[in-house]
Symmetry: C2
């Protein structure tokens, strides 16, 4: 099994060391400016972890869920998993001569991504199934790690795992030091994330919830394998997020972090729980350091959840004003 | 929310205290006789936890999975969840006058369990859906806990949560003290187990994998709820166990514990992994203290897995010879 490129791992290790050091010091969130968002996070964590506080929550119930795309790492100009799928189509093309005459593959192979995606959800589903199914789970894991080792983001030139948000890494570490279990609950593919979330975010595979395709137990030369089938199993987005939380975690989180309308129901479900609850939306407002988008974006649209935030008591992070740095690797 | 009957909780608390004490002492498995089974467990755990040992496994990868029915608690004269469903039919009968003329309910209400179950899988599915669906997840949790509070086993007269196996509680505690994460992977309903596994086994809801029905996110008087639908989602048995493990845990266990052919694939998948692996089968051989059954049993049939055990290197526990006591509460 390949590991994520050494340089990237080292940089992340340094970032994590810096976080651990800062947690011992006075400021658990050094990459956050001294604004309401930071104060809200710290106040909540102190309330629920202080024994004798009326809002005290026992450690076993300290569950925090994080969306991934746009909440823990970037999602522009399109979801990184989609960029992975497009790269895979190019890699696999020699084995599929028929793709030259078949959409959405034909357009893709001519470099016309927009044309390929004009087929909408159906085109995307075809691309995903052609690139995500037909192999064992272990083979897919290697493919994902190989890609992360070599691929670079088309705009920043960074490795994808370098485009994780330093301020959010600090929140993850801060929560864990305070007895929380941190989970990813993402619309992205569960098996696309699991190979690297432990090293990159400190979140082990068993704490990753995501969309999935079906698998089949089979024997190959007498050895058991799990084969990935080209059949959708579960979409962990919108209404699906509370269902995924219920299926995988089995209790309601007390904190939820998202950035788009896809996270609305996760935030709603979390903060409708009894006693102390916390919801947070990362609002992408920084066109200079990252991207600025919300109500009209095709990727990570944030409209309904932004409107609902004040009445629901959700904290809205203004990336431009609230974050000193964006990425874990500059 | 109701809690499990106080007396039972106290008894279990005493049992757990006894275990914790024994873990500090020389013998981590005091309810096990000094036979091969006990030696095999201890040898494996020492090998994988000793730094520098060629079989050393880092803590993050110390995943152990346990079947529930027949492995952690009894399953005779039928699965306890089925006994729960039968009790529920009686409780719900006044709301369903039509059941008097409809099988399998009509037979059940006349006390003819055998007749009701003569309809096979279809009859069981109808009973399960009628008793497990149509309410919110929180309502179902209360129903399960209320039942455990009051119901008694038809043969032993014990509460169901008193019919958990003391020797297996010791294994669970021993593994956790040695850095393992312990999971349940059961054919039983995931939401039937989760309300009580943390208190009874020390296994939190997010570490319980089981069969499930679909749920739906909905708003009731503006408050979000998850409604349990009468539609099967996933059967966590046989081939389904490695799939459930992959979906919920995302990595291969290094230890697996089962008792029937329903656990065959979980044991096979676990022990086919690279490096050190451990598989164990609880063989029900004690007609005096519990039940004796294997190849011909309708519940917990153990045939194929028993034949495969020697070649696969799986440890077979002979309950009569290997266990000093059976139940956590005598």
């Amino acid at each position: 099994m390949k590991t994520i490129q050494t340089q990237s791992v080292l940089a992340i290790a340094i970032a994590i060391t810096a976080i651990t050091t800062s947690l011992r010091a006075a400021d658990p969130l050094p990459s956050w400016n001294e604004t309401d968002a930071k104060r809200a996070i710290i106040k909540f964590v102190e309330n629920v972890t202080t024994e004798g506080s009326p809002e005290f929550v026992p450690p076993a119930q300290r569950i925090a869920t994080f969306d991934n795309d746009g909440t823990l790492w970037s999602e522009q100009p399109m979801y990184f998993q989609l960029l992975f799928a497009l790269d895979r189509v190019k890699t696999l093309a020699p084995e599929h001569p028929e793709w030259k005459g078949k959409e959405p593959f034909a357009s893709l192979l001519k470099g016309d991504v927009k044309g390929a995606l004009a087929g909408g959800q159906k085109a995307i589903a075809e691309i995903v199934m052609a690139t995500h199914a037909g192999m064992t789970t272990e083979e897919f894991e290697s493919i994902v790690l190989d890609w992360l080792d070599t691929a670079k983001h088309p705009v920043t030139g960074k490795r994808y795992t370098e485009m994780i948000y330093q301020p959010m890494l600090e929140v993850l570490a801060y929560l864990r030091v305070n007895g929380f279990k941190t989970f990813i609950v993402s619309g992205g593919g569960i098996e696309f994330m699991r190979p690297w979330t432990e090293r990159v975010y400190g979140i082990p595979p068993e704490q990753v919830v995501g969309s999935s395709i079906k698998t089949k137990y089979d024997l190959r030369d007498g050895k058991p394998v799990l084969i990935r089938l080209p059949e959708l199993d579960f979409i962990d987005d919108k209404d699906g997020k509370p269902l995924g939380i219920n299926s995988h975690i089995g209790r309601r989180p007390i904190m939820a972090f998202g950035n788009s309308d896809g996270d609305f129901q996760m935030l709603e479900w979390t903060t409708a729980g009894k006693d102390a609850r916390f919801g947070l939306i990362v609002h992408h407002t920084d066109a200079a350091r990252e991207w600025a988008y919300d109500r009209d974006s095709h990727i990570g649209q944030l409209d309904k959840a932004l409107d609902a935030a004040p009445a629901k008591g959700w904290t809205v992070v203004d990336m431009k004003k609230d974050w000193k740095v964006i990425f874990a690797v500059q």
